[in-house]
């Protein structure tokens, strides 16, 4: 497949197509519902019901209702034991595979932060109460981070595909897609499934609350009155394929991933370098990887957690690199789904490219005086979108950006 450059004799990188996508998030089940929620600027953040938040500052999150998530046919005993995260992955993968039933992945690369954490919590609580530990083997078996990935493969593909699970905190989803992109671009793989997942858990919710990173108010990215993040959950899958091969076999090409940038800033384990150097390097490297200039980007799906520090660092980096490009953080509508966030936001960027609109940044009143950004405030709007940049940054100073290009039908 790989071709030699006529001038340097080096292998030319392969082009990487997105041939299918699937998503489940508080915005909805599947691409159509997600698109509808984005266009309507729907606020999908609700009061937390999965566990007690009585002692937490924050009381809300973006949640996926169990009555839909766990419903459906073929719910045998095994399926009933699966963690919610497995069900999310199954929904997302099933939607993707329905678009390209003949897709045979060589590798799966998925991002997450907490696997089946809530089963670990149940196990620990039962131990503390000297309670009934009859279900402990099930909880333990469904706790590992790779389990939802393997469950989804078995349930939907019916085959075993080697999997790599990346846990780079909140950048995991974008890191997974970026690494998958590099794998196909290098010519080592032709077809890779990628994405991310995370399900809401008490431990993580309490953790962000203890850091006072989450807010009792609305999530208002880049707003002068922003007070923090709200958590979310979900899963998203992208099927990546060598573009030339995809076209040869007549597969649909939804978009093309053209660039990936990764950086590590070593400022602090939970806070970004206030200079914005980490995000800036990730975005610069994505642009270099795609061999495009910043003015070719039409939309930025920001990490935009709405914490004071993240938005300040990211906003600074964006305004240093880009000149008035529309920016939104869709976390304002669905919360921050951690390891799934980058994957869900890649799907949102894909929808923006396919349907030529800018997803909104809701709960927005006025821009932080210290930022110079063109925020897509409160409502979605039609626009020419040929190139979208999606950012994810995480604990430990991990930063990742991907660039996705529209492909004409």
């Amino acid at each position: 497949m790989a071709q030699l450059s006529s001038t340097t004799g080096e292998k030319k990188p392969e082009r990487v197509a997105v041939v299918a996508a699937g998503v489940v998030s508080p915005l909805g089940f599947g691409l159509a519902e997600t698109l509808n929620s984005l266009r309507r600027a729907k606020d999908c953040v609700t009061t937390v019901t999965r566990f007690s938040v009585a002692e937490c500052r924050c009381k809300t999150a973006g949640q996926i209702p169990d009555e839909r998530l766990l419903a459906g046919p073929n719910k045998n005993q095994r399926a009933k034991r699966l963690h919610r995260a497995s069900h999310m992955m199954i929904h997302a993968l099933r939607e993707a595979v329905m678009q390209v039933p003949q897709f045979e992945p060589e590798l799966t690369i998925i991002g997450t932060t907490s696997g089946g954490m809530s089963y670990g919590e149940q196990y620990y609580r039962s131990l503390c109460r000297s309670g009934n530990l009859r279900h402990a083997p099930t909880w333990i078996a469904n706790y590992p981070a790779q389990k939802p990935v393997i469950d989804a493969q078995e349930e939907v593909l019916g085959v075993s595909v080697p999997c790599q699970v990346i846990a780079n905190a909140c950048a995991s989803g974008t890191n997974a897609i970026g690494h998958a992109f590099e794998c196909v671009r290098s010519g080592r793989y032709q077809r890779v499934l990628t994405g991310g997942y995370d399900a809401l858990s008490e431990l993580v919710f309490t953790g962000f609350d203890s850091l006072q990173a989450s807010t009792p108010e609305k999530c208002r990215p880049f707003d002068r009155h922003r007070a923090g993040m709200v958590l979310g959950e979900g899963a998203a899958i992208l099927a990546l394929e060598n573009l030339e091969l995809a076209r040869k076999r007549g597969a649909p090409v939804l978009a093309e991933i053209v660039g990936y940038g990764i950086s590590t800033d070593n400022f602090h384990i939970t806070q970004p370098d206030p200079s914005g150097v980490g995000p800036r390097q990730a975005m610069e490297r994505a642009l270099q990887s795609a061999e495009i200039s910043a003015d070719e980007v039409d939309y930025i799906n920001a990490h935009g957690t709405a914490t004071i520090f993240n938005d300040a660092a990211e906003g600074k980096a964006i305004s240093q690199l880009f000149n008035g490009v529309p920016v939104s953080s869709t976390k304002s509508m669905m919360g921050h789904s951690l390891g799934a966030a980058g994957a869900i936001e890649a799907v949102i960027s894909l929808l923006a490219l396919r349907h030529q609109f800018l997803p909104p940044n809701i709960n927005f009143d006025a821009l932080d005086d210290r930022l110079d950004l063109n925020v897509v405030a409160n409502e979605s709007r039609p626009a020419v979108v040929r190139m979208a940049l999606s950012n994810s940054f995480g604990f430990g100073g991990t930063n990742a950006s991907i660039l996705i290009r529209r492909v004409e039908a």
Partner: protein, 385 residues
């Protein structure tokens, strides 16, 4: 693409540093099990632990509040870089990738954090502990200590994750702007982990680990870290990459099994793929559980004459670190032409085991098999150039 192993670092219950641990293994030493208990329950477990003194020499501010898992990783990582002669500075900070393999992660702080929440409520949750519960905390600390500014990944999985991380490193090193990739596997033990594995019928109450035993009596958990520095061969000087250097000749992408009974078939495929060329010995991940039978079946059917060595009876099951430990063992055996003795193996086992210290002089290739108990298996082939 072949990658050379330019340096290694090792933190184990048998001691620190590659040469010291190797000597003890050759002598047939076995780590001492220590009891591990918890207020929550009367039951105590045995585990192979790393002595506290082994990681007290590190004084970096990022490690002040870090759990031992991060200290193990930093100790092994720094040893590997030193052995490779790699000094990270502002010139090359972006040219070194860091890939971590982890299974259970910072379980000690995770339990402490959640215990506070359960016992005294969410308002008692510690903002200092929470960041250390995140899987990539050890990688983040080492990146900060070294000043690495580019690619950093933490890969999670079961006992196979170490080799999956090396496979990932091979993919990452396709990026020509990278000179080296430091791969670190690390794990720490807590009572909670022992209890979880026991409830899953994979743990035995006290040593020994009996590899390939028919009774599948279970494993003993251990902790520590292993690290290797990978360098792209063409970039290295002839002397460095020449005669006597050891390469990752083939890193298999691995596989996932749905049911335990399927593990053998996937392992057979992996062993078949890796034994396309003549292989001299195998470093097995036998740990006294169901996975031993799967590995034995695959080896007997595909390469029945290969000599097999298993280190877990001596050092325990370190899960996320185990793959790196096995690679280090394979490298040492190829370099020194010797295998340590497999401890506690029943004489009736039909595999060709290194039952006593055994010479493998002239050996050129070794297969490393890394079988996890949570559905993942992986393998790779080392070659002596």
């Amino acid at each position: 693409m072949s990658l050379a192993i330019a340096g290694m670092g090792w933190v184990t219950p048998l001691g620190n540093s590659v040469d010291a641990v190797w000597e003890r293994l050759l002598r047939g030493d076995e780590a001492s099990a220590t009891p591990i208990s918890e207020q929550l329950a009367d039951r105590s477990y045995s585990a192979f632990r790393v002595p506290e003194s082994a990681v007290t020499g590190l004084a970096h501010p990022r490690l002040r509040r870090a759990s031992v898992i991060s200290r193990f990783a930093a100790t092994a990582g720094l040893e590997a870089l030193q052995a490779a002669g790699v000094k990270v500075d502002s010139q090359n900070a972006g040219r070194i990738a860091l890939i971590f393999a982890i299974s259970n992660g910072g379980v000690i702080y995770t339990k402490r954090f959640y215990r506070d929440v359960v016992e005294t409520g969410a308002q008692s949750a510690s903002p200092l502990l929470f960041p250390e519960t995140v899987f990539n905390a050890p990688a983040s600390h080492l990146a900060a200590i070294l000043g690495v500014t580019g690619t950093t990944y933490t890969v999670v999985g079961d006992g196979a994750v170490g080799l999956l991380a090396i496979k990932m490193a091979e993919d990452v090193m396709m990026d020509k702007s990278l000179d080296y990739c430091l791969v670190v596997g690390t794990e720490e033990i807590d009572w909670l982990l022992c209890d979880a594995y026991r409830r899953w019928r994979l743990l035995r109450s006290a040593p020994p680990i009996e590899p390939f035993g028919k009774q599948k009596r279970g494993m003993i958990l251990s902790e520590g870290a292993g690290a290797i520095v990978l360098a792209r061969l063409p970039r290295r000087s002839a002397a460095e990459a020449g005669e006597g250097s050891i390469t990752i000749e083939c890193a298999h992408p691995g596989g996932c099994y749905g049911k335990r009974a399927e593990a053998e078939e996937i392992l057979k495929r992996i062993v078949r793929d890796l034994s396309q060329v003549e292989v001299d010995f195998v470093i097995s991940s036998a740990n006294g559980t169901f996975i031993d039978q799967a590995e034995q079946g695959a080896l007997e059917q595909v390469i029945p004459d290969a000599v097999t060595y298993a280190a877990k009876p001596a050092v325990g099951e370190s899960v996320g670190a185990s793959g790196l430990w096995q690679v280090i063992l394979g490298v040492q055996a190829l370099r020194h032409g010797e295998l340590p003795p497999v401890l506690h193996a029943d004489s009736a086992i039909s595999l060709r085991l290194a039952r006593s210290r055994m010479t493998v002089a002239g050996a050129r290739r070794a297969i490393i098999l890394n079988s996890g108990v949570n559905q993942q298996v992986a393998g790779l082939r080392l070659a002596l150039r």
